[in-house]
Amino acid sequence: MLAHLPRRRAAAALAILGFLVAGCAKNAPQDIFRPAGSNAREIDDGLGGQKYIFILAGVVAAIVIAVVLFIIFKFKDRGQDIPEQTHGNPMLEIGMTILPAIILITVAIPTVAKIFNLAKSDDAACVVNVTGQQWWWEYDYPVQNCGGIEITQPIVTSGEMVIPAGVNVQLRITSRDVIHSYWIPRLNGKRDAVPGSLQPLRMQADQPGIYTGQCTEFCGLSHARMRQAVVALDSDSFATWVANQEEAYTSPTDALALEGEGQFISQCARCHQINGLTNSDGTPVLANPEQNLVSGAAPNLTNLMTRTGFAGFTFDLITDACREKLWNAPSEEFSALYLQGVWMDSPAGAEYPVCFNETALREWLRNAPGMKPMFVDPNNLSSTGGLYRGMPNLGLTEAQIDQLIAYLLERK
Amino acid sequence: MSAVTEHTDHGTEAHDHADHGSHPTTLTFVKVAIILAVITALETSTYWWVEDAHTVAMITLFICMAIKFVMILLWFMHLKWDSKLFSLMFYIGVGLAIAVYIVALMTFHFFA
C-alpha cells in the first residue's frame, strides 16, 4: 500500500487544482464566478478579489501537499538510524511566520478597499424596496425617476425584480418575519433581510437578461423554495414594463373570467391585492393580509401574468421550453421576449398563450401547500393565533379553478 | 500564557500563606469598608446633581465603579496578597468580557 502513496497524493493534488477550474460550468445560472454586473465584478476581480484569493488558496494548499508528498517519499523508514533529534530553528520559524503575513497583506489591503467600494450608496439612479417574508420576496418601486424612466405610481410585484440594465439600482432590503437573505450571484453578494432594519445593496446588470438567485438565510420550512430573480431590461422595454404595471384596472369581458373575478373577490382578495379591483357596488376591494397571514403580506396579483415564475419564483408560469428559450436568449432579444411573457411565441390575436404553464398554476390553486410546504394546517395554528404562514388549500372545485385561471390570465 | 510559566519553577515552596506578616487586620478591612461606603454615597449623590453635569457625573460614576471594583478584589478578595495566578485567572475573564462585549456593542453603534 505504501508504494502507491505518492501517486495517490498526486491525484489528490490534481483533484484540488480541479476545484479551481470549477468556476466555468456551462449554464449554471448561479455560478459565482460569472459576474454580470459591476458589483459582482468588484467582488471577483483584482487583488483581494475572489479569483485571486481562490488561486492563492489553491497554490498554498498545493505547496503544502507537494511538500508532504515529497517528505513521505524521501524520509520513509528504510532502516536508517534514529535521526538527529533537531528541536527547531527559530530563524526559519520567524521566516515562515512572516511569509504568510506578507501574502495576507496583499489580500487585506485591497479587501478593505473593496468593502468600502461595495458599501457606497450615493451613486444609485433608482431605488427598489425589497421585502422578504416566508417564503417569497416582494418588490415595491416608490414613485421616482428610475434611471430616466418616471414611475408615477407605486408598483408592487413579487418574485422577479425588473430593473433597467446598466443602471445602478439601490435595494433597500428588509423582512416582515424572520431573517432571509437576498442573493443574485451574478450581480452582487448576499445581503440579509433583517426584520426591523433596512439593509442597502446595490444591483447593476450590464446586459439585459435574467439573473436568478435563492434566499440564502435559513428561514424555516420552505427556505429551499424561496427563490428570486432580477430581470434587467433595456431602457425602452423597462419603460414599457413600467407603463404596463401602471395601467388602470379593467374588469374582464369574457364571461368565464368575469366569474373568476367574483371568485377572486370572495376567495382570494382577503389576502391578495389586485389594484383597481372593485366590488359590484364600486367600492374598492382591499386585501387585508395582516388579518390572515403572520407576515401580513401576500403577493400582489395585479399583473401576475407579466411574471414568468410564481410562489417565490419556484414554479414556472411559462412552460419549460419557453423558459429555456427565455433564459438562453441573447441579451439583444431578451427584453422583448420577456415582455411577451406567457404570450411568447403566440401568434398575434391568439386566444390562449402558448407558453402558459397552466398545469402548475392549476395545481397551485388546487393545493398550494401540496406543492410547497407551508404552515397552513388550519388545525395547527394555535401558536400564531390562527394566522397562516403561506397559502392554504382553499378546497376550490375544478370549475372554480377554471374561472380563476381565466381571470388570472387577464392580469397582464 | 507566558505569565503562567514563571510559577512552574517554584515547585512546592510557594504557597498561599507565604506572607503571614503583611496580613491585613480587622481594622484594615473596616477602613476599606468605610471608604467603599463613602464612594457609594458619592455615587448615589450624582443622582441629584446629574441633571446639570451629565458628563462629569458619568466620569465620576465610572471612576467610582472602577475603584470599588478593584478595592473589593484587592482587599476583600485578597488578591493583593495572593498568588498572581489567581489574579490572572480572573483578569483573563474580566478582560475578555470587557473587550468582547464592548466590540459587540460597537457593532450596534451603541456608543455613537
Binding site: 500500500m1 497524493r9 489528490a12 483533484a15 470549477a22 460550468a25 456551462k26 449554471a28 459565482i32 468588484e42 467582488i43 498554498v60 494548499a61 501537499i65 511538500v67 508532504v68 517528505i71 524520509f75 523508514d77 536508517q80 534514529i82 535521526p83 538527529e84 533529534q85 530553528n89 511566520t97 504568510p100 495576507l104 487585506a108 479587501t111 473593496k114 468593502i115 468600502f116 458599501a119 424572520v178 431573517i179 453578494g189 448576499k190 433583517v194 426591523g196 436568478t212 435563492q214 440564502t216 435559513f218 428561514c219 424555516g220 420550512l221 427556505h223 429551499a224 423554495r225 403572520v294 394555535s382 | 500564557m1 503562567v4 512552574t8 468582547v100 459587540a104 460597537m106 450596534f108 453603534h109
Partner: protein, 672 residues
Amino acid sequence: MAIIERPSAVPTFAGAGANAPAVVTPTQGLGVFKRPVAASGWKSWVFTVDHKKLGIMYGVVSMFFFLVGGVEALLIRLQLAAPDNTVLSAQVYNEMFTMHATTMVFLFVMPMAAAFANYFLPLQIGARDVAFPRINALGFWLFLFGGIFINTSWVLGGAADGGWFMYSPNSSPLFSPGHGVDFWVLGLQITGIASLVGAINLIVTVLNMRAPGMKLMHMPMFTWMVLVVQFLLAFAMPVITVALFLLGFERNFGATFFNVDAGADPLLWQHLFWIFGHPEVYIIILPSFGIISEVLPVFARKPLFGYKFVVFSGAGIGFLGWGVWAHHMFASGLGPVSVAVFSVATMLIAIPTGVKIVNWTLTLWGGKLWFTTAMKFAIGVIVLFTIGGVTGVTHAVAPSDTQQTDTYHIVGHFHFVIVGGAVMGLFAGLYYWWPKMFGKTLNEKLGGWNFWLMFWGISITFGAMHIVGMQGQPRRMVVWPEKLTGEGFFNLHFWNQVATWGAFTIAVGVAFFIVNVVVTARKKERAPLDPWDARTLEWITASPPKEHNFDVIPTVHALDEFFHRKYEEVEHEDGHVKLMKVKTAEEILAEEEARADAHIHLPSPSYWPIVLAFGLPIIAYGVIYNLILSFVGAAIVLLAGFGWALEPSVAEDSDYDPPAGGDSTKELATIG
C-alpha cells in the same frame, strides 16, 4: 477503595498490573448511605470517579453519537443525491441537519476530545487523577443525560428545526412552535455545564497536578492544546449560556429578547452565538492538533520541531479566536467598518495556524517515517486541514464571502477542517493510544482500509461540495431544482451524487473501524508495552495503566521524558556519538514498580455526581411540560449538592496509617 495497598507480588509489566487488588473501605457519606465500593461490575463504572474509566465512558458514548450523527448525515446525502428528491420531507430534513450538526459538534467531537483529555492528561503530566474527580464524573453524566435529553425530542413531537446556529427570530415560538427548539436549548444548557466544569477541572489539573519537574514547557503538546481548549471552553460556554437563557425565556416565559415587534434586535442572538461559536471551532480542532503533535514526532522518530512555536501558536489561535466572530455575519449588514475589521482579523488567524503546519512538516523532514495507521491519519490531517484552512481564508475576504456564505462552499470548508482535521485527528489518537488504553494494538491492515476509505471519502464528499457551492447551490435546502442543474462537467446533479457516494465511502471507512475494534477485542495477543517507541509520560506505566496510574510519581527532567529515559547518546568504538536505546519500556516499568509507593490515596467513588446530573434533565422536562417536575429536579440537585458537600472526596481513612516518619511527599492525597 480509598487506599490501594501495593500488592505484595508486583506483577512485572505488560498490562497485567491493571487490576491490582484494592483494599476497600466502606464509609458513610451522608450518615445514611454507604459509599459505593464496588471494584468491579457495573457499579464500578456508574459510581466511578477514575479519570480513565470516565475517559472510556466518554469515548464510548461519543462514538455512539458519532454513528447517530453519521446516519443523519447519510440521510441528508440521500435526500440530496437527486434533484427534487423525496427521501425526507422538508420538516424532517430541517430537523435532520440541525440535529446532525448539534450531535456531531456537541455530542461527538467535543466529548471525544474530553475522552482523550480525561484519559491522557493526568497520565501525560504524571498525576494520579484529575484535581476534582467527582466533578469529572459529574461532567460525564451531564453530557450523557444532556445528549439523551436532546435526542428524546425525536419521539416527543419532533426535534429542533432551526439550524445549528438557531438564528432568531426563526427560533421564536411563533416561527418554531413545537418543543424541538426547547429541547435543543435546555439540552445544550446541560451539556454546557458539563463543558464548563470539565474545563475548570482540567485547567486546575494541568496547573496544579503536574509531576515534580514537569514545567509547563515540559508538557506534552496534547496537554498544552487541551489546556488552551479548556480556557476557550471556560470563557466561551458562559456566552452561549446567556444566549440560551435569553432564548429559553423568550420561548417559555414570554420575554421578547429577539422579537422585532417589541423593538428587539435579532442580531443580538447572532453576536452571542458566534462569540461562543467561533472559539468553539477552535475548541473542535485544537485537541486534534494536540494529538497529531504527539503522533507525528513519535513516528518520525524526532522531537516536535519548534515546540515553543507550536505552543505559542496554539495559544495565539485561542486568543485570536475571540476577535473574529463576526466573520459569520458578513452578510447581515454590520456596516463596512465592522466588516473590514473582522475581515482582516480573521485573516490573521492563518498565520499561527500556518506556523503549526510548517512545524509539523518540518518535524517529518529528515525523520525516519513509520507509516502506521495513526501516522497516516496524522498526515491526512495535515493535508485535509490545509485544504479546509485555505478555503477558510477565502471566506475571510468579506466581499468574496458574500458570494460564498450559506452555500455549499462553506459546508465544504468546515467539513474539511472538522472531518478532515478534527475527526481524522481523533482517529489518529484512537489508533495511537488504543494499546495504552486496552493493552491491545488495533489491526493495522483494517486500519489501512479505515484510513484510506475515510481519506478519499472525505476528499470526494467535501471536494464535491466545493464544486456545487461554486455553482451557487445554497446550503440547508431540502431540494435543489432540476432546472438549475446546469450542463457539462460541473453540473450539480453529478457532483451532488458524487458527494453522496463519498459520504457512504466515509461510512464504510468508519465501519472498518468498528470491525477493527471487535476483531481486536477478540484477539488474545497483547500489545507490547511500548509498541510505538513513544516519547511521553503516559507510556511509562503499564498498559492499560493501573488504577493509580503510576507506581511512583515520575520525576521529570525534560520534554519527552520517556524518550530520554530510553535513549542515550552512546559513544561508539570509532568515536562517533550515537543515540541508542539503552533501556526498554519493560525495564523502566520494572524499576518503577520496584520502588513503588507503599500507600496511595485515590479518590473514592461517589453516588452524588450521577444523582446530581440526573436532576438536570428532570428540571428541563419540567420547563417543557410541567414546572412541578422542575421543582422535583431542583430538589434532587440540591440534595445531591448537600450530600456531595458533606462527603469527603477521599473516604475516611479508618484503615489508613500514614507511613511513619516516611517521605510524606509520597502521600498523594491532594487529589481533591
